[in-house]
């Protein structure tokens, strides 16, 4: 979000976020299957790095550049980094809540949060559909409405 202040948005290879979504999907399936709080906490850290530093500097982005991109041709087009980065922040929220749930014994909370995060990651991986981005406008509308109500 700091990019916005700097002016020109950072543009990235769109296949990077897609690859990250595939890995995230696999990790979240394992989280649900094993009920592992520490693994979900680790995924939360990955999300946090992607949101704070940009996806290229998250561990999955690093893997993409080292292992996958050299085997692919150059990208046909680049995309704005902000939407996937925003989605990482949404993912972080769910993963963090879920990890707290699993680790504190509120397993239902862990399962619910991990399931929602899995749905979003899978939609991105399989269909290129950015759920976090879709929700963004609804969140802005809701926030504005709340602002009016409290005034």
């Amino acid at each position: 979000m700091s990019d916005r202040a700097l002016g020109a948005p950072v543009r990235v290879d769109p296949r990077g976020p897609r690859f990250a979504a595939v890995l995230t999907t696999l990790v979240l399936v394992v989280v649900l299957a094993t009920g592992s709080g520490p693994l979900l906490a680790a995924q939360a850290v990955v999300f946090a790095l992607g949101a704070a530093l940009g996806l290229r500097y998250s561990p999955y982005g690093w893997l993409y550049r080292r292992l996958v991109r050299p085997r692919l041709g150059p990208p046909r087009e680049l995309e704005d980094e902000r939407p996937p980065r925003f989605a990482q922040a949404v993912g972080f929220t769910f993963a963090a809540v879920g990890a707290v749930g699993y680790l504190s014994g509120a397993t239902w909370l862990g399962v619910a949060a991990a399931a929602l995060a899995l749905a979003a990651a899978f939609l991105n991986a399989a269909f290129g559909y950015c759920l976090g981005c879709e929700v963004y406008l609804l969140a802005v509308r809701g926030r504005a409405r709340l602002g009016q109500a409290t005034r």
């Binding site: 769109p14 989280v31 902000r82 899995l118 950015c130 879709e134 406008l137 509308r141």
Partner: protein
Amino acid sequence: MSDPTGLIIAVVVLAAATVFGLVRARRDGRLRSGRGDAGLRLSSGELGESLGERATLVQFSTSFCATCPGTRRLLSDVASGTPGVRHVEIDAEERLDLVRRAEVMRTPTVLVLDRGGRVVRRASGPPTRAEVVSALELATAS
């Protein structure tokens, strides 16, 4: 791995997301006549830009919208190749008044206006070129 509940939930989530994604992919970007659009009319004053002489393509975007730049390229290309048609892009965050009035739920949302600013067709999600062209034919025929 003794309790299979989590794995079952994962499978159910993946199945539900697949159905959602397939339905979405079919409906996404289709230019249809919206249910609440009868009588909805946008003026050049509201848009902050003049309407096209024959039709106007209004695009609602946000900065966190992965498909908005592609839709922008498509619509401005179609508009520049079609006489009397303008492309107007609205920053949804700055124009929440218009977002509410036009019932915009996601970005990109594309409204096809006729010469009088009446909403003839709308698409949620990125439309295809063929759909935009046929919606413009409809808008300019009226």
